[in-house]
Symmetry: C2
Subunit: 193 residues, 2 copies
DNA sequence: CGTGCAGTTGAGCAAATTCAACGCTTGTGG
DNA sequence: CCACAAGCGTTGAATTTGCTCAACTGCACG
């Protein structure tokens, strides 16, 4: 059911305000959803990785845009067929509702993140990334500093400085800019509250 | 259907992590939902006024607390009976889903707000309040500066200063601290983007 | 007529941003 | 194979923004 589509890194999956024809599942790679304000500032709403579902709207239009962070395999499923299924199958209907609730959870967590200090935001971000990674204390970042900054509501400089600070304090290790070892998750947890 | 309950200003309607037994509708007054962090910081998630519905969770526990901002009339409806209805009635099921989607919309708007400057946050807040008020350009704030600050992720001092600045610039008029006239909504709209 | 709370205002400070320079890696053309 | 531009990330200095701490005002309530 649905169609598997590959997306090259940086390519658009859908745009904000476009008709929401499909719902998407990540089979491989990482996707970002975002909005761009008139003055050029970009807010990244979420990153989605393997097994995550995104692009489900209750209205007829997407309210964020979606792009491939790196090369992705995406499963696209017609929204109309899902809705048709849901109308006769309570279990499916409940699962669609549940997906929206999961998005709500995501948004609320992100909201809580955005009222914190730069250190706390980075701590939360690293722990979140670590949870999604295979090795619990080793992260391979698929996204750029700019992506992280736009996700956390900070500048790339602040992201960079905060990470080097963590590194100086031996909380993390940064063999390369995209590769991070968590050396003191306890401190990160405390920072992220 | 359901029970009408009055809540005095400041009284708790439910606490975070409590079992979500009811879903609530505001018949009169204003409600705030919030979370308190270990260090005492409080984040207000949303304000709900007449005809708004709050406290609907897909899990079994509330994840925010809810309090009456001022004296309220609240209709409490058993969640279990709504869910029972939904299981046999697709229209009800769809409306429950829709309510969660509306919450998601709220959370995303709030997320966008929290990445902006103090001026922009206040501008968005004032316009949001104005939309809910009877007279389009006149606001009677039900909540304190502390509530506003915790909603916008600012301090009361910054809220106060920004409002007086708007007042000096003739964007608003402040006959009393809880009563605001919008004198230049265009500027506010531009600020809020 | 005080007392207390909510809101405002000011001064100094801390945090994050801006602007700018620099280093490292990568890819391309000579 | 080397030189060199381009992009990404880091670092530094100056500036801006919002926060902290403190004093003060006005209003409501006893």
């Amino acid at each position: 059911m649905g169609t598997v589509i590959p997306f090259a890194h940086g390519s658009e999956i859908y745009g904000a305000n476009e008709a929401a024809e499909n719902v998407y599942a990540v089979l491989g790679g990482v996707v970002r959803t975002y909005k761009v304000l008139e003055d050029g500032r970009r807010q990244i709403g979420s990153f989605y990785s393997t097994d995550d579902i995104f692009g489900l709207e209750i209205g007829d239009a997407h309210d964020f845009s979606a792009e491939a962070v790196n090369d992705c395999k995406i499963l696209a499923v017609k929204r109309s067929s899902l809705l048709a299924l849901a109308s006769s199958n309570n279990e499916i209907a409940r699962q669609l509702w549940s997906l929206t609730a999961a998005e709500l959870q995501r948004a609320r967590t992100h909201m809580m993140l955005l009222m914190k200090s730069a250190q706390e935001r980075l701590a939360m971000f690293l722990l979140e990334m670590a949870k999604h990674s295979i090795a619990h204390a080793e992260i391979d970042l698929p996204m750029s500093r700019q992506d992280i900054a736009d996700y956390l509501g900070l500048t790339i400089e602040t992201v960079s400085r905060t990470l080097t600070q963590f590194s100086r304090e031996a909380i993390i290790e940064l063999p390369t800019s995209r590769h991070i070892f968590l050396r003191n998750s306890a401190v990160l947890s405390r920072l992220s509250e």
